[in-house]
Symmetry: D3
């Protein structure tokens, strides 16, 4: 089957969640794990939009949580596919917190989740190629190869010495 390429924008998903008591720790801040749960759903929706197939989470890249998000604040998640490989897709997310009463919106974190599309027998299936359009989309598309090498190294599936994209990075001064 010859799948028609799609733009990055085609997969764009916005999710908005209100932080309720059971989502918070003893400081009244959103627990990291609860946020990762919402991010997983937002990213899975973006990957499903791109592939029109059911998807499963294959991996999650390093996430660094910058600002705590408070009880009663809002979480905004924007998810969009960066690049499609044979049957996998890397999804980029930006997460903000917002205090609607004080009109204060703050960056929480960015993240990359990778998903695999499955056929009805639960085997990986081909997904359409992704065409980046904006400058940011092109930057994310290009970086996807480097992040993929890192994932393979960290997963023990590639030797660091074979990771040409990453080696270049460490050689710079």
């Amino acid at each position: 089957m010859d799948l028609k390429a799609k733009t990055a924008k085609d997969s764009f998903v916005v999710m908005t969640e209100l932080v309720l008591p059971n989502d918070t720790n003893l400081f009244g801040n959103l627990m990291g794990g609860r946020l990762m749960y919402w991010m997983d759903i937002a990213a899975a929706l973006a990957a499903t939009k791109h592939s029109n197939a059911p998807v499963v989470t294959a991996s999650v890249d390093n996430i660094s949580f910058e600002s705590p998000i408070k009880l009663g604040n809002v979480v905004h998640i924007e998810a969009q596919v960066c690049r499609a490989f044979t049957s996998s897709m890397e999804v980029h997310m930006k997460v903000w917190g917002e205090d609607l009463m004080h009109q204060f919106k703050y960056k929480s974190n960015e993240a990359y989740y990778t998903f695999v599309a499955l056929d009805p027998n639960r085997k990986p299936r081909s997904v359409p190629q992704l065409v980046p359009e904006t400058e940011e989309e092109i930057r994310l598309y290009d970086g996807a190869l480097r992040r993929r090498q890192l994932r393979l190294i960290l997963g023990g599936k590639m030797k660091p010495a074979d990771a040409n994209e990453l080696k270049a990075l460490f050689a710079k001064d």
Copy 2:
């Protein structure tokens, strides 16, 4: 305040969860985000045991999900602090799925979450140093520096050229 060092084992936490319908995707498999939520709680408990202080999730390292965990199966999470820094702690987790009816236990993934201990004013506070004892604990303790450099680079807080531990890795053939 001079905090008494603790062993890695002191922070050991075991968590067991049953996969219920609302935790699953359309294939009847545990959603990755739901697992990351449970892992966040297990790891936070290990970090709290080590620091005897409330903690917040600072970052999550690359996670790769190997085998799907099915509805009605059990999730086992073992969490233990690898290394303590000034006010942060790296926690290592091993996750298995288990089909109790078929006595079949399978590896799902491993992961590293990092937590920061806070004082009552929500400022970072010192945590006890960690003393690794077993061979595996020493390996995890040693690797913690390298993983920390990677986190700093990925978080834009260190230049790749300054990451000596990692550079050595990429220089190997």
Copy 3:
């Protein structure tokens, strides 16, 4: 206090939810009550954005559910304030279901929820006036008076004979 008027667009909120097993009835369709719960949160966020104050739900207008939304489908809710009164705001919502696998998006329903902004003593407080801009926003703004009369009549706070806006409607042939 003299509050600066705001546009309708300033209050715009998009919410996206995935229908999970516990949200569904025996047919595997989203329960109406679960949808009204999500709509209440989306609308409350829009009203909070407009008023920059905590809000409580005052009333909900007639809702008619057109198409069932299936398990695993996505719910899209777009909420925006139509008109601000002294301390209350009417919020309009459009709700769609979407089957991401079959690229099929379908209208579920439209609704109007009304919120009151509260001060720290839980008394109603003034909210900024709303300035509609687009043709649709103006239509919603104008209709708000008529819907308000209907609410007052249905709530037993206005006699039908005094509802001039509505009377005109029934007099037409």
Copy 4:
């Protein structure tokens, strides 16, 4: 199939819920959407009792929330079918809050939800006629026609000028 008529009382359902932290807004009061979720279940049970068939929510009439219900208070919902049409049923609900510690019970709101009974192919199926007995049941039974006209008008399925029951209402002085 000739279905035997049933009394209104045959469909009577009482639901009692305790308001927990995750049901509340920042004021510690029950969120309107959470209440509408419980009401949907209570009303669906009443409609299922009347029809002995699975039902889906077709519409919800205007609801006005009078008194906030506090964290730790109890919600009482009494639901009963008012009138049965060919395949749809209108259910009336009365909702109270109760502070059991202060023996203080207060009216929260009343509402009408409409349900459609479905056959195994998810097509509307006939439901038994309803026989009102008490004075209040007769009043609710009679008012059902007028509310139905209003629903049809608000749903754009009837012209106001054709709504004789409602027209009479607005003609009064």
Copy 5:
């Protein structure tokens, strides 16, 4: 403080719950633990109605689960205080399942939970005495002493040889 005695009926509470997917095991039947959770809330409400004070669960008597309750069926719980002691109350519950579509209602189990009323310093406080009225209420009131002795023996707070009420029972042939 001299508290006015109350009737058993004064504490009567009815709870109705719908069995949703997340409440069920792999057979699609309500999990015992989920039912005990609902029973705890129903019984706590009855004890709070009697004492007009916050209560905590002190103990639960033997429960035997007779018939499984299916997904989509309804759970009915009727709770009423049997007898009040100084600061504790024994609550009796009857639980039924009901398949509303097949008009089939079946006994699930009976149970006794005991609660203690607390004052604002979380110390036990006196509760009103209970006056049983019907034959069944008197039978439950009388049996409460015997069940209390059994609780004390099972909790290691009374020697079997001192339990006169129970001894009589075992002496019979």
Copy 6:
């Protein structure tokens, strides 16, 4: 089918849960019913490990709640099968609360739940015999007969006069 006997230890399960806001009453303490829900899952897992078959809760013995477990504290549940009968298994649990910040661990309660193993037609099926090894396991194994007689008496399935194990207990001075 001749099932190979198993040790008690083979069925051992540890569960760890964090007390979140929605698990607590107005005093900020874990609700008894929520704890019984977690205990039901832990015990069911132990019984499933022993029988390698799906199980359903048959009964719960007297439970006495000793110390309240606070919001933010941890619940530890250790579950292990005490004795296997033809198709049923008695599971013993020990429950502790722990305040990780103050390194304070306290006993909450002990309990016995009984489960029945089912075949694919939902009929009771044989389970392996259990071989106790440690002194405590032998004590629990021996006591299981006595507890079973009590269950049968309380369930109305045995006359007190026929309960020889229990009679001996009450005859002592």
